[in-house]
């Protein structure tokens, strides 16, 4: 038994392929048999993945979900930023450049609007709970954008560590919600063509959320959503400690 677990942890990435393969198979069975194909197999797989991450987090107290369990460390490599980004780039193969040019304006508007609206909502909620200084409002607003924009903004402005932790939690929750919720809201918001996918990527911004959510909706939309989402965090980190903070400072009167 000990020998087997040792072999499995030594071959972490290979074992991860087996684990994910099993998760996919179980998910497609659930999708076919329990939901008659209504809930897409990949949506079920992502939800199962999140449940495993929750279990891993509870079991180890770590921050990387299932990947913190030594036996499943290979999941961390397989689903880490490196291979995730390589796979996202590969989905662009065969994309029609005309579609992207046609939707360019909508994508830019979506990015600007997505960042401003997220900051505004986050800052309002922060103020409603008594965080009325511009630094805390900007930090929690940044967290409502993505879980990277929040801490980057907070660190730049010198926010307290509990406010930064709140901003990370808000951003993580958004990523998880987008992953699970996208296939459910897709029919309501007309998310079924490249242009709406580009608008969606720009408005939601969370790369992991958009990557997972669109995968569970229609894989052909992934490259368009990912294309705009990839600019979001960078722009958010640019605007957070500058434009957004100054605007909040002007509103709160210092």
């Amino acid at each position: 038994m000990e020998m087997i677990t040792e072999i499995l942890s030594k071959n972490g990435l290979v074992f991860a392929f087996v684990v994910v393969g099993v998760v996919m198979w179980v998910s497609y069975q659930i999708s076919d048999r329990l939901s008659a194909g209504r809930l897409h197999g990949s949506a079920v797989a992502i939800i199962l993945g999140l449940v495993l991450a929750w279990w891993g987090g509870l079991a180890t107290g770590g921050s990387k979900g299932l990947a913190d369990v030594p036996l499943f460390a290979g999941i961390g490599l397989m689903g880490g930023a490196m291979l995730r980004d390589l796979a996202i780039v590969s989905t662009a193969y065969g994309v029609d450049i005309r579609e992207i040019r046609k939707a360019g304006a909508a994508g830019v508007v979506a990015l600007a609007l997505g960042i401003v609206v997220s900051f505004a909502v986050g800052a309002l909620v922060a103020a409603a709970f008594g965080y009325t200084d511009a630094v805390s409002m900007a930090t929690i607003g940044g967290g409502a954008a993505t879980y990277i924009v929040g801490p980057v903004t907070g660190t730049a402005l010198g926010a307290s560590s509990d406010v930064i932790a709140l901003s990370v939690a808000a951003g993580l929750l958004k990523a998880v919600l987008v992953m699970i919720g996208t296939p459910l809201v897709a029919p309501l918001i007309g998310l079924n063509n490249p242009k709406s996918a580009m608008a969606y990527g720009g408005l939601m911004g969370t790369t992991s959320g958009v990557a997972g959510g669109l995968a569970a909706t229609d894989k052909r939309l992934v490259p368009y959503g990912a294309m705009t989402a990839t600019f979001y965090t960078g722009l958010g980190c640019l605007m957070g400690p500058s434009v957004m903070y100054l605007a909040l400072l002007a509103i709160t009167g210092g």
Partner: protein, 130 residues
Amino acid sequence: MIIYGVAALAACHLAGVILGDLLGVLLGVQSNVGGVGFAMLLLIVASDWLRRTGRLPALSEQGILFWSAMYIPIVVAMAAQQNVVAALAGGPVAIIAGVGATIACVALVPVVARIGGQDAPLPPLMAQEA
């Protein structure tokens, strides 16, 4: 050879990420700005040019298509290493801010997607293709 396709994909990935990092430094941001997006544009332009000049044999193409097919499993592995516990433990401020921002932005999707005219939906997907 399949490796040519994989190598081309990897080269586009790295070139894009380097561009994104440079743009981040230029803007004075502690983050990569659009690296993956640039990489995708590079891949689209490069593969289009290679195909038109007949320099992309089907076998090389397989090297890119393999990673594209691995996309969903990789996303599942990504989901399995999210900090779900922290996401749920943030208390009311984090929950209302996260949920509120998500709902507000989702509601704006149809508005923004209408800029420059409504697009037709993609044709329905065959079960095997998914």
